[in-house]
């Protein structure tokens, strides 16, 4: 019996699996998460993996959360310790009163355990070795056996897991039956040899509702399909590769002409990021909807072309799945660290539209909307995901599409319009919104052609180095960016229960942790109005929110509080009124972290003058 009372919790705990990369555990671990979902209990799983193919440590964390908190919580209630390399760290990370599940085939010295946790040993290797002779089978089925044992320990319904196995191996009866057999090997051993269930338990509930379970990258790729993207050019880079791979899979399913079998899309794996964005720009210039997916290092390589897109006014969509930088940084760890790099990408005076989805549902919506925006504004649109959303399954509302929707192809002058005698000046601001008309190549035999270039030109696309002509063009681009404010998704505001002079701004993958942190802060007596920013340029409501509060916390996952910098820069606000709350170790930000950082600061403010408190 441990010297700390074992944690007792139903449908509210964190299980972490410590495995070795390449051991085939991912499938069993994900099945564990899905099985809990089938119990009607929300889960929030996260992959924590190294930048390596095989051999290094990997973790998979499942937060079981009947309350529906989808951000990372922090702490581990049960560690499934399957990796000797990380044993000490894994054991140390267990919450007092928590549980340690391990392979007890080989005896471990008592010094390897803790007195304040419950240790559960299952001789997994012995069970697999006595059942299977093939080495690969031994490795793979060991994972299913521990899944079976956990199902008994956590009081899970084995039929729901069998159902999942049935779905996964549909049509492969041999695999199906052998997996079910392995599941019961582990389950039966646990039921016969251990005290089941533990204090941690899964109980059937109805809190999942009609929500879906999907990765952000896959949802964004589906958004590109629905948004009408026909050209995708990309270059593999973690954590964005699965966007293009998912787009390929979706297109194969939904984009082939039923009569001819031909593809209504073109996907090219470029030789590098420069070529990828070049292909996107060429395709968009010629009237197709095109996109690329990349990460920070790719953005660095693309910046020359991004400048061209801005200045020559060519639509482009870039999905940036952010990871920890700078340089190669931590390629498999999450951050929101490319805000400044994307907002002002390229040399000279540039400003770009950024979209910040909070979950896969918004990733789908914003990805589809990005193509409308790109064509309407004739510029680059960045969809700013990050690894935490992109490469993890998230529970979110079902994806929705309005069949009446038509694509906004923006201001395109047709041959008919040219025939009518409409004045075509490629960079002429006809409507006062800063957005000119364009023509597609091949439109008309004698009218509407122009020369696209990255050098300065007049309103009729004629090369010009006249200062006034250049300034006129640059001012129009500012007008266009102002127009964008009303086209991009607006911020969402939620006020505290009581009037408060304090606010918090957050965005993207930080959102679920922030939403949960509000509750924790309220419990500490702190009231905060909150504003979730969903796009740059900032809507005027951001300035209003800042004006309405004495000061505002800006919560983000990078060292330099990049969104805060952008807000200060774009709103001309006194920086002291914006307090940075930053988390940047590569792990997803947690509610605990936010609540502590803001809570401590709020407490501090009660006794310290504002300017001193934030300096």
């Amino acid at each position: 019996m441990p010297d700390k009372k074992p944690i007792s919790s139903v449908n509210d705990f964190v299980v972490r699996f410590a495995n070795v990369n390449g051991s085939g555990s991912a499938s069993a671990n994900e099945m564990f998460a899905r099985a809990i979902l089938r119990h009607g209990v929300p889960v929030s799983p996260r992959n924590i993996f190294p930048s390596n193919i095989q051999g290094l440590p990997t973790w998979y964390e499942v937060r079981v959360t009947e309350h529906g908190h989808l951000g990372a919580r922090g702490g581990v209630d049960m560690m499934v310790a399957m990796n000797p390399q990380t044993w000490d760290k894994d054991v140390a990370g267990i919450e007092p009163g928590g549980y340690l599940f391990y392979d007890s085939t080989k005896p471990m010295p008592s010094t390897k355990f803790r007195d304040d946790i419950t240790v559960i040993g299952v001789p997994l290797t012995a069970i697999t070795n006595s059942t299977y002779t093939d080495p690969r089978q031994r490795q793979l089925f060991k994972n299913i056996i521990y899944l079976g044992a956990l199902s008994a320990l956590l009081d899970m319904d084995p039929k729901l897991i069998e159902q999942l196995i049935g779905e996964q191996y549909k049509g492969k009866e041999k695999l199906l039956s052998s997996n079910v057999h392995a599941l019961h090997l582990g389950r039966d051993w646990a039921l016969q040899n251990l005290k089941c269930p533990l204090g941690l338990r899964v109980k059937k509930s109805d809190k999942v509702g009609d929500r879906i379970f999907i990765e952000g990258n896959s949802a964004a790729a589906l958004g590109a399909v629905y948004g009408g993207a026909t050209v995708c050019a990309w270059y593999p880079i973690t954590p964005s590769s699965s966007v293009a791979e998912a787009f390929t899979a979706h297109c194969k399913k939904y984009r082939h002409d039923p009569e001819t079998g031909k593809a209504k899309y073109a996907i090219v794996q470029g030789e590098d990021e420069l070529a990828s964005i070049g292909i996107v720009i060429g395709a968009s210039w010629n009237g197709a909807r095109a996109f690329t997916a990349t990460s920070g290092p790719g953005i660095s390589l693309m910046t020359e072309f991004i400048g061209l897109s801005y200045f020559a006014e060519i639509p482009a969509v870039i999905m940036n799945i952010q990871r920890a930088g700078p340089s190669t940084g931590m390629p498999t760890r999450t951050q929101q660290c490319d805000i400044i790099a994307c907002a002002y990408a390229s040399h000279g005076d540039t400003k770009h539209v950024l979209l910040f989805p909070e979950d896969p549902a918004e990733a789908f919506e914003f990805a589809a909307a990005a193509f409308d925006l790109a064509e309407r504004l004739q510029t680059t649109i960045f969809l700013m995901l990050d690894l935490d959303i992109g490469m993890n399954h998230r529970l979110c509302r079902p994806l929705k599409w309005d069949d009446a929707k038509q694509y906004d192809r923006g201001k395109v002058m047709t041959a008919e319009m040219l025939e009518e005698g409409r004045d075509f000046g490629r960079y002429l601001d006809v409507d006062g919104d800063g957005i000119p008309y364009r023509t597609y190549p091949g439109t008309h035999p004698t009218k509407g052609s122009y020369f696209t270039r990255g050098t300065s030109r007049d309103r009729y696309a004629r090369y010009s180095e006249e200062g006034t002509v250049y300034a006129d063009n640059m001012q129009r681009l500012v007008r266009k960016f102002e127009t964008a404010q009303d086209l991009v998704p607006r911020p969402l505001q939620a006020n505290a229960e009581r009037p408060t002079k304090y606010g918090v701004i957050y965005f993207g993958s930080t959102s679920p942790a922030m939403d949960e942190a509000i509750g924790l802060l309220e419990a500490r007596g702190h009231q905060l109005d909150r504003l979730r920013i969903r796009a740059f340029p900032f809507h005027s409501s951001v300035a209003s929110f800042l004006a309405e509060h004495d000061f505002v916390y800006v919560v983000e996952q990078n060292r330099d509080s990049q969104l805060r910098q952008l807000i200060v820069n774009e709103n001309g606000i006194d920086p002291v009124r914006l307090v940075p709350i930053v988390h940047y170790d590569g792990s997803p930000i947690t509610a605990r972290f936010i609540a502590k950082a803001i809570g401590d600061h709020q407490d501090h403010l009660k006794v310290t003058p504002l300017r001193k408190a934030v300096s």
Binding site: G228, A266, W401
Partner: protein
């Protein structure tokens, strides 16, 4: 890229092609390149080739990078859309444009700095992908716009205008194009319009990646004794493998091809290339032979010009990708979007 507008009047008696266009309809703005620049001769050859092929000027998309050569698309096909992209990146922009609309004709114009240095990778990959394009490198072995530095195609031992000797080996873009699988590979000389015009015409008609390296002396910085890209040097060392005429399949065109001296090559689109062979044993269908031929002559200091290789059955990138015949840029939501019913099914599969 000129401030000077070209006068619009022209002689009413100008000869017209079968679409009723005159040469003037294929011209662009007045060149601002140095008087006598080889690039202007190439421009004239492009105009001539497009006129002879009776191409609708506006159905051509002309794309370039940065540099003297990349300025030239402004000087031909004034009713076409042009795109002066960024240094060395013409091939990717052209590839994207081609994917968006397979119905247009794509002319990529580049230079040796553009294609053999910063854009060497993009050159290579667009060729290996088989993008349906005519990729012309206006090759003068020097950086003209920045006043005379060697480019990567400058021969080892050649001298700059300032008298500096180049110690780096040269990149032979023709050899590279052959190696990478270009299905139409040729080299010519800007001063040899008789050879260049039909080569350009044939390249345009060819389906797949057509590459033409055109030696085009820079009269300002690379037309002196010691340069291997000067007018005099090229004239003295040129060894033409063939002369050709282009016969477009749709109409019979009378050409002078005496039996036994002309080889007719039928291209994928039905057009034919008639090769007037100089070397009796030269076979333009033999990729390996072309590579060997090129290397042998290069070792002798000879610049081989003419059509070095053609695959009449070439496929292009669209065929590799199995894309629909309808240009992708014309597809709308009704054919692209799977709709809400499909989305409901997708949602159901994600629970």
């Amino acid at each position: 890229m000129t401030y000077i507008a070209k006068p619009k009047f022209h002689h009413p008696g100008l000869k017209k092609n079968e679409l009723g266009y005159t040469h003037r309809d294929y011209e662009g703005k007045i060149s601002t390149l140095c008087a006598g620049c080889g690039h202007d001769s190439i421009t004239a050859s492009i105009i001539e080739a497009c006129y002879e092929l009776s191409i609708e000027p506006h159905r051509v998309a002309k794309i370039s990078g940065i540099g003297c050569s990349s300025k030239t698309p402004d000087y031909f096909l004034g009713n076409s859309h042009g795109f002066n992209s960024v240094h060395g990146r013409m091939p990717s922009v052209l590839t994207g444009a081609n994917l968006a609309n397979r119905d247009l004709i794509y002319l990529g114009v580049s230079g040796d700095g553009d294609s053999a240095s910063i854009g060497f990778g993009q050159f290579a990959h667009s060729i290996r992908r088989g993008v349906n394009m005519t990729y012309i490198v206006e090759n003068n072995g020097v950086y003209g716009l920045t006043k005379g530095q060697f480019s990567a195609t400058a021969d080892r031992g050649s001298k700059s205008k300032k008298g500096v000797t180049n110690t780096d080996n040269a990149i032979d873009l023709v050899a590279i194009a052959l190696q990478l699988g270009a299905t139409f590979v040729a080299r010519s000389f800007s001063g040899d319009k008789t050879q260049l015009v039909p080569l350009i015409a044939a390249a345009i008609r060819h389906k797949g990646a057509s590459f033409i390296d055109v030696i085009s002396p820079c009269i300002a910085f690379n037309n002196h004794a010691g340069s291997t890209k000067s007018f005099d040097y090229v004239r003295e060392h040129n060894d033409a493998v063939n002369r050709l005429d282009v016969l477009v399949g749709r109409d019979p065109i009378a050409v002078d091809y005496a039996p036994g001296t002309v080889q007719v090559v039928e291209q994928h689109d039905g057009s034919k290339i008639a090769l007037r062979k100089i070397d009796a044993d030269y076979d333009p269908h033999d990729r390996l032979g072309a590579q060997t031929f090129l290397q042998k002559h290069a070792a002798k200091g000879q610049i081989v010009t003419g059509l070095l290789y053609v695959d009449p059955d070439a496929e292009d990138l669209h065929e590799h990708l199995n894309t629909v015949e309808t240009p992708l840029n014309t597809l709308e939501a009704d054919t692209l979007c799977p709709g809400s019913a499909v989305l409901d099914k997708i949602n159901a599969s994600l629970r």
